[in-house]
């Protein structure tokens, strides 16, 4: 083993760029949960939240792709890009299903999807830096 590589610490999917979508997603999930518990269909705030979340995820994706374009490589490329594609599809999926279901269950769908997104962001980070790699 040589000296510790600096590439791991320079992960493009770390820090504020990942923290913002995670926090945002959890906020939308909490808001949607409250709506679902109160028998409310998805409101404007949820759809705006999903849109802002999507923008944050696209920023994350662009930064990751720029890093890859600049010669950096994720630890597990296949899994990394799989998670990346899944991630940017999540808010649109929630949006479409919530539009189809204008009841409390639409809010429940938004909540469920927004709970999954942070998990995918964390998995994304893990597949960039492979432990012991």
């Amino acid at each position: 083993m040589g000296p510790v590589s600096t590439m791991g610490t320079d992960s493009p999917v770390d820090g504020i760029v990942a923290t913002v979508p995670i926090v945002l997603s959890l906020l939308v999930a909490a808001w949607a949960l409250v709506a679902a518990v109160r028998h409310r269909p998805p409101d404007r705030a949820q759809f705006v939240g999903l849109a802002v979340l999507e923008v944050a995820l696209l920023v994350l994706s662009v930064l990751a792709l720029v890093a890859v374009g600049g010669g950096e490589r994720p630890g597990e490329p296949g899994a990394f890009f799989g998670y990346l594609v899944t991630l940017v599809c999540l808010p649109p999926l929630a949006w479409v299903l919530a539009r189809m279901e204008p009841t409390r269950w639409g809010s429940a769908i938004v909540c469920a999807v927004c709970l999954v997104a942070p998990v995918v962001v964390v998995r994304l980070q893990q597949t960039w830096e492979v432990l012991g790699g």
Binding site: G78, T86, C89, A108, I109, A112
Partner: protein, 138 residues
């Protein structure tokens, strides 16, 4: 067709739509995992990877069955949820009893602990939902 009131529900509306959403998420998760495993390192654990692929297929078909909602859709969903429940329990028991059998994780290993045990809960919810809507689909 005559509406019998607000209690009338099909498998593809209300809570059912949430169920379909979660099935879709698991279909995506299992499909990408199986696809990647089979494409990159099939020789390491063919049984586990083929099982991942089977699980992925079942999640997709179950989601379609619930979404189609008709008589056929319900039967398809019933079959999928049943196979899924048997699968997650069988694989869960086997993976705990004999770790050699599943050297690499699948969606169903350890009763789906890697996925927050949702794979174990999901078929139960699916069967419960089919039972709840049993009179409302004709």
């Amino acid at each position: 067709m005559v509406e019998t009131g607000p209690a009338r529900r099909r498998t593809n509306s209300g809570p059912g739509r949430l169920l379909i959403a979660v099935y879709l998420l698991f279909a995506i998760a299992a499909t990408s995992r199986a696809g990647l495993q089979i494409a990159t390192r099939f020789d390491e654990a063919p049984v586990a990877y083929l099982l991942s692929a089977l699980a992925a297929l079942i999640y997709i078909v179950a989601a379609v069955g619930l979404a189609r909602a008709g008589h056929t859709g319900r039967r398809v969903a019933l079959a999928c949820c049943s196979v899924e429940l048997v699968g997650v329990v069988a694989v869960g028991v086997l993976s705990v009893a004999d770790r050699e059998l599943f050297p690499d994780e699948t969606v169903w290993s350890q009763f789906g602990s890697g996925y927050g045990y949702i794979p174990l809960v999901l078929p139960v919810l699916g069967l419960f939902w089919l039972w709840r809507t049993r009179h409302d689909h004709a």
